[in-house]
Symmetry: C2
């Protein structure tokens, strides 16, 4: 059951698609007060209560013990002290003495203090807001109920579940072909190669540099013939350059965000001075989406949307101010305060609140200063593309995901969790985010495997992939400053081949479970305690997940580890996949604690009692996967039926084609 | 056995005090080649070899799988991607197919690639260097042998083993008294309060701001009467201000580092423009040490030396260059490269190689550009103070520790591990560094408990203290920007009281073991595998330590954890300390894996078979600790003797006073 309480007049977010009657008064079990013009919702946590949710956010699966400031932020130095990331997913699920969900639907800043200031107090601080209290008999039911009102989740084409190689730094056709060859020549599977900002002409969206990519249509076709899709990046900001058709056209139509006086607001991002499409204006949104046509027409079927928090490197006025300030300090003996003030002028140029308070949107519900609706930007930029795809070819599923997002976005596209780093802690963070994202509808999600910033290691890359095979978005991506981290760039290519192949072996399971969950509102990745709510030990499990109906995973996430401890909450069958999924061993394990060894080229997971899981032979890409001759992992005593998705892989209408397969013990 | 090989003419470091004959030729088992003017030492690691050592460095106890760039660096954002910290401790111990130690004695940059570029290769890259190959029958013996040639470790006064509260932000006498009261009124033990840079006049070393600290002598005496010592900070750089006696005197004597033309080299640090005492010149070093007299005369008996990498905020010329460059960009449309170039001018001002290559030392072995001897600076600044203390009162032990260090430093003082952050990962890093530091002679060491930068949480603070009670330096320290993290600033003060009291309960053990290890060259904190070298599982234990002769610790280091897994490598007695050490329970555990629950106010550790451990009643400070009526934790079947240190707590000469106590089963 959902009860909606409205406080003030929150800007429209369209996060919720099943209209709810709105109440005023106390959103039980929270109490409310006003403080410094903000609303503060409070709830006293039980001693052992857990708090789940918040999607893309810091810390563990259980969010208790930290403060979270949901304000979409482009800052790649994601240390433990951070409180904001690239997405704002304002849903929490309190699990304990009382179990309930709460969605704070406000596109401005929302701060969740979950036992940070006071270990026993949960407070949520925000401006005008719709609060949805979600009740149900179990955590799973609460999530289903929440997912019901926010609408069902985006499903990409099936090839998007293959393995993807990406890097900021593939500068031309030869670089792209070298990656393709690198995978194929080493017998490594591959379904996608991503193109980062270098394919564009001067970082202008919807252009292609003709010198470095003389014939994108031909290149896309050449790769697609081998089952490899090219996936270009699209940035939020549009270069402010006369003669650039997107700029000229948008300017004429009045589709860019404006300053207080109604003139286009200039920010600087990759291409230098730029303007921001006003994607909160439905006409401008669709207009921006329609720009994707130029790439669709060249055979492109997938896109990733970036810099759409929106990220701002600097604005013209504030840069001028900083330079003028610096000039005034020339020749002075600066003490630490004066020096801090000077460098601070430059350090704080990016993503400043001053800028976010200086431009405006013409939204459906009126003119809003950006800061009031900040967290909706990436969502609506991405929605624009999705809305246009529905026009371009209505029944076709395109690959589309974004860096920034808000709840609602999950209906149109997926997300990646932004610019992480090659740190073991970010592998753990990747795992910890998955169930929170799932609760908020983001099923097609994943992190940059191996880590985006900094240098990875062979071991980290392998362990990260071994977790990543269970995440819908399975992409290796890094910056141009990082060491090469394509799987063939390492020494033990055999281990990489084994792990990548396993992804394809489990793909029939992962894909079928994904499609079922997208339709039903069930969770694909769940905290272990959701399946074993009465198990006290399961409450504290932070490094294992339930994936789909049948299995529990327990990846190795420590450097130099030969294995790891696993808590098995009920009798299960331990499966050890070997040799790319071509071989496996199994062993029944009783409820309890285990130390398991996991070599770098193997994967261990656990099959629930009564469950089965299909396993395919590995393939070089999704297109060549043989799903007729499936093997079955099973822990059953009676025959069971397993529903496997038999869609065509790319149309929406075929998504309901399921085959029920009877599996004998 | 130690064999020394000399390559080129490395600057004198005085790291090794037992002279060794010098050989030329291949430092077996390494091979050597020259590459780009550097020497590259290589060793192929066995598949399961572990590599220990490197003291204050990143990653785990086992250093394999990363690259380490030993170059003392002031940068408090200590992410997993970092390769340099505040200290350079160039000793490694390879443990496996061959077990041996190697010390690369060079005060310039030394890079250890330990299976990063190639998982199986260890390479060490540096300039001129003395390489010491250390052999022995076991890891422990190799460490003893290395510690023998580098000389025995510093022992502080006994009160320095008490609990210390520190914060950058105690601005005046009232702030200091409020901390003292906060601890005493809440029944929390305390032995020290630290004074950060705010006690000085305009950040000038050896001055006291008379407005905020009108009578330091009286304040120090008032606190000392309650067993609380005031410990001021000393910075490396001296404000360049005429009329400031330290500056005037040093200038006259020619004791500051100079530029290429022999003029004092100006850098900016806290006080603005400053000069660097040339602590590599023995006369200048002792002169700088003699400056501490002004504080010793006011009753101060302990100091911490900071900013001695040496940290440089900016140099005059490069700041001017940055400002002029910025002015040239005024009004331009900067694309991402141009913008990066502009902000880069400011981002790279601090600690630049250009500056480190621009000033010189008059060392005993001649004039050196700073970059050639960089890693010796903190060591020699600190040595100067120690050398002066020997003159001021020869038999007295003073508390002295430093941020930056090099091997050799351990004979004169301790270290703290620099400006960490309030991250769970830094609690783990704290544990991981301890055995590496120990191998290099740094027994008096510890991290800023609770974390220095950023905001801690009550749970992190408690768990960190619960580990910290086993580290010799036991100090809570934070920046002025952090939330209050004094133990009385949290909700569950009872839990803090319990944990702090436990430190005092185990202090007779920790102190006795410390003094024994400082004299014998035994390790106080050891990897578990050092005690159980034949145990394959013990090789991968990264979150437990052996502490002293009798115990193994296994602290909880995960947020929201109720307990943790422990690998018990042999039959042991599990001890659960409760109620501040006033109570405990015990249970014999066989070799194997355990999940143990550990509430926030308890500590669990493991007593080895055949071992005993004294336990005192908690006390409000070290001075009031009753060490005559000891209780004993014991896991023995026969009587054993335990040697307990019975020194007076502050003289060097009394350090050999041990009492042998016979403990009955």
């Amino acid at each position: 059951m959902v009860t909606k309480y409205t406080f003030g007049v929150p800007p429209m977010t369209e996060a919720v698609v099943v209209p709810q009657p709105s109440f005023s008064g106390m959103p039980t079990p929270f109490s409310v007060k006003e403080e410094e013009g903000k609303r503060v919702f409070s709830y006293t946590l039980g001693k052992d209560d857990l708090v789940f949710g918040l999607g893309e956010q810091m810390r563990g699966i259980n969010k208790r013990g930290w403060i979270y400031d949901n304000w979409n932020t482009d800052d790649p130095i994601i240390t433990e002290g951070r409180t904001s990331l690239y997405g704002a997913h304002n849903f929490i699920l309190v699990f304990g003495e009382k179990t309930f969900g709460a969605f704070f639907d406000s596109p401005a800043r929302v701060v969740f203090d979950i036992g940070y200031t006071d270990p026993d107090e949960l407070t949520v601080t925000c401006g005008d807001v719709d609060v949805y209290i979600v009740e149900g008999d179990s955590a799973k039911e609460i999530v289903r109920e929440f997912r019901r009102i926010i609408g069902s989740s985006y499903v990409p084409p099936k090839w998007a579940f293959g393995f993807a190689q990406s890097k900021w730094g593939y500068k031309n056709e030869d670089d792209v072909r070298a990656v393709w060859k690198g995978y194929r020549e080493n017998g490594l599977p591959l379904d996608m190669i991503y193109m980062d900002i270098d394919y564009m002409q001067d970082y202008m969206d919807f252009t292609v540099n003709k010198e470095r990519f003389p014939d994108l249509t031909a290149l896309a076709a050449e790769l697609k013939a081998d089952g490899v899709y090219l996936v270009p990046i699209i940035d939020a900001a549009v270069k402010a350059k006369e003669g650039y058709h997107v700029y000229d056209d948008g300017l004429e139509k009045g589709y860019f965000c404006t300053d207080a006086e109604g003139k286009p607001f200039t920010v600087a991002v990759w291409p230098g001075e730029s303007v921001l499409p006003d994607v909160l204006n439905p006409a401008a949104r669709l207009w921006f989406g329609a720009q994707y046509k130029v790439l669709l027409d060249q055979g492109i079927e997938g896109f990733w949307n970036d810099m759409n928090e929106p990220a701002i490197f600097y604005s013209k006025d504030r840069l001028r101010e900083a330079i003028v300030y610096a000039a005034g300090e020339l020749g002075k003996d600066l003490d630490t305060d004066a020096y801090g003030a000077l460098t601070g002028k430059f350090y704080t140029l990016a993503n400043s609140m001053e800028d976010y308070n200086s431009f405006y949107h013409n939204s459906v519900d009126g003119r809003h200063v950006h800061a009031e609706v900040h967290n909706l930007y990436g969502y609506n930029m991405t929605r624009g593309a999705s809305e246009y795809f529905d026009i371009y070819e209505p029944d076709r599923r395109y690959l589309l995901f974004s860096r920034s997002s808000y709840i609602g976005h999950h209906r149109y596209a997926g997300i990646w969790t932004g610019d992480n780093a090659s740190w073991w802690s970010h592998l753990k963070l990747n795992l910890a985010m998955m169930p929170g994202l799932d609760m908020c509808g983001f099923l097609f999600a994943g992190a940059d495997l191996g880590g985006h910033g900094g240098n990875t290691t062979e071991e980290l890359m392998l362990r990260w992939l071994a977790f990543g095979i269970f995440a819908p978005l399975f992409r290796n991506h890094a910056t141009q400053y990082a060491r090469d981290q394509e799987c063939y760039a390492f020494k033990n290519i055999g281990a990489f081949r084994s792990i990548l192949n396993m992804r394809y072996a489990i793909l029939p399971y992962l894909y079928s479970e994904f499609v079922k969950c997208a339709k039903s509102g069930e969770m694909l990745s769940r905290p272990v305690v959701f399946d074993y709510p009465e198990d006290a030990r399961a409450r504290t499990v932070e490094d294992q997940l339930m994936i789909g109906a049948s299995i529990m995973i327990a990846p190795v996430m420590e450097q130099n580890a030969k294995g790891r401890y696993v808590y098995v909450p009920a009798r299960m069958k331990m499966i050890r996949l070997k040799k790319g999924g071509n071989a496996f061993s199994e062993r029944i394990v009783e409820k309890g604690d285990y130390y398991i060894e996991v070599p770098l080229d193997e994967i261990v997971f656990f099959l629930k009692e009564g469950a089965v899981m299909p396993l395919a032979k590995p393939a070089k890409n999704v297109a060549s996967l043989d799903e007729t001759n499936l093997r079955w992992l099973k822990f059953i005593e009676e025959p069971v039926e397993y529903e496997i998705c038999r869609d065509d892989g790319f149309t929406k209408s075929s998504l309901s084609n399921f085959e029920k397969i009877k599996v004998e013990p």
